[in-house]
């Protein structure tokens, strides 16, 4: 397998990274980097870490890191996680108290409990509870998806970082499990990876059952919820599985209109070297982020059909006391 880390690979321009990804030859991993600059999304780092976890450490080759910002990869814990020590030629030291979550492996519910507890202080969200709630929700839903559906022996590989310039928190979660197609086809016919992505993003669809409303434990609502949060905030959301990447494009100034069908959103897709498992990248712009309860309100109104005044009188309301 070959991975080249370009000078820039965020969700908006992740195609640059994905187009050079070569996942043939699963016994070795060669990592090369842009010699001048490195600035990449946590989803990219999670992907590389996930790939490295499947390869014998001795068969991971990483060229000398020439870029002045190469230290960034070290701060994100990539080399430590892969147990490799590439030469890093120049070091541009960042502030020591950076708002980031280095690469973390989560293999079970206990790991997730610990991760969720540490998330708020690591991202310095103590004084921003509304942002914290959205980010906790996103991590919880994404990681539980991996633990419950992926059958990935290495669990979820996650990391996140706050970017001061854009005032956003970027989140990456990767696994090397069975992928969406295999997971969803347990309950629904799936012809290809893009169809699987579509089904996974559609509310009410889960691989665990065909029953409307899901099972007692799964609603099939988590990915739709996360995509909706990104959409409302006009942030990017990217999901990769098999040979396809789906990217929700930024909403811009378009009026908010939630869509159950992800292909009715503004989106882009891309063919990639087949990824065994699932990768999700999400941005949360703190400038734009609605209070979490407002986000939920918008999503609730969409789902309740209040926008279309659909028979809302038929449904009982929860009793708050």
């Amino acid at each position: 397998m070959k991975v080249h880390i370009p000078n820039s690979a965020f969700l908006g321009n992740i195609n640059n990274f994905l187009s050079t990804l070569d996942l043939r030859g699963v016994d070795t991993l060669e990592i090369t980097t842009n010699p001048k600059w490195l600035s990449v999304h946590p989803a990219v780092i999670s992907m590389i870490a996930s790939l490295g976890k499947s390869v014998d450490q001795k068969k991971i080759v990483c060229d000398e890191i020439m870029a002045s910002s190469g230290h960034y990869l070290e701060r994100m814990g990539l080399f430590n996680f892969l147990k490799i020590t590439p030469k890093i030629k120049k070091i541009k030291v960042h502030e020591p108290a950076g708002r980031l979550i280095p690469i973390t492996q989560i293999k079970n519910s206990t790991d997730l409990d610990d991760f969720i507890k540490n998330l708020v202080p690591l991202l310095h969200l103590d004084k921003e509870p509304n942002h914290a709630h959205a980010i906790q929700q996103i991590f919880s839903e994404l990681i539980r998806n991996v633990l419950e559906h992926s059958r990935a022996t290495e669990g979820a590989i996650v990391c996140a970082q706050y970017f001061k310039k854009s005032n956003k928190i970027a989140i990456g979660v990767a696994d090397a499990g069975v992928g969406l197609k295999e997971s969803i086809r347990q309950s629904y016919p799936v012809k290809d990876d893009l169809s699987a992505i579509k089904l996974a993003l559609t509310p009410g669809i889960t691989g665990t059952t065909k029953k409307p409303g899901g099972t007692a434990q799964n609603a099939g609502f988590g990915l739709f919820l996360i995509k909706s949060i990104a959409y409302i905030n006009s942030d990017f959301f990217t999901i990769i599985s098999g040979d396809k990447m789906y990217k929700l494009l930024q909403r811009g100034k378009q009026k908010i209109r939630l869509e159950a069908n992800p292909f009715n959103d503004r989106y882009a897709t891309m063919n990639i070297s087949p990824w065994q498992g699932v990768v999700v990248g999400v941005d949360i712009s703190l400038n734009q982020t609605e209070e979490f309860k407002s986000l939920m309100d918008i999503i609730y109104k969409f789902y309740a059909g209040e926008v279309k005044n659909q028979k809302k009188q038929l449904y009982k309301k929860p009793k708050f006391i």
Binding site: H133, Q136, S140, D297, Y315
Partner: protein, 102 residues
């Protein structure tokens, strides 16, 4: 709601201030609330100390009750001391479950 037929579940005691662990939700659902609902009792979910929760946790907590007992079970489920965030998520889950089971 009569006092003698009501069981109160303190969500914080099981799931902490960010209630997201679906295993805990399942425990509450199967061990604590289902037996009471089967006897015709009411449940108070007390969210004191819970800042936020997830859609998945809430789904695991109550959706099967709505499916099994019908939407009328919502007349026997009370949600107490909920933050605005928690309220919105409960409203979302109760809404989509009723839509799915109609």
């Amino acid at each position: 709601m009569t006092k003698e037929k009501t069981t109160t579940i303190k969500i914080f005691d099981y799931a902490g201030k960010f209630a997201e662990n679906k295993d805990k939700a399942q425990h509450i659902r199967e061990k604590l609330t289902r037996p009471n609902l089967e006897k015709g009792n009411s449940i108070i979910y007390d969210y004191s100390g819970v800042d936020s929760t997830t859609q998945s946790f809430t789904h695991a907590l109550i959706s099967d009750h709505i499916r099994n007992f019908g939407k009328e079970v919502l007349d026997r489920l009370y949600f107490k001391n909920c933050s605005e965030t928690v309220k919105k998520i409960i409203e979302l889950v109760t809404e989509y479950m009723q839509r799915k089971i109609k």
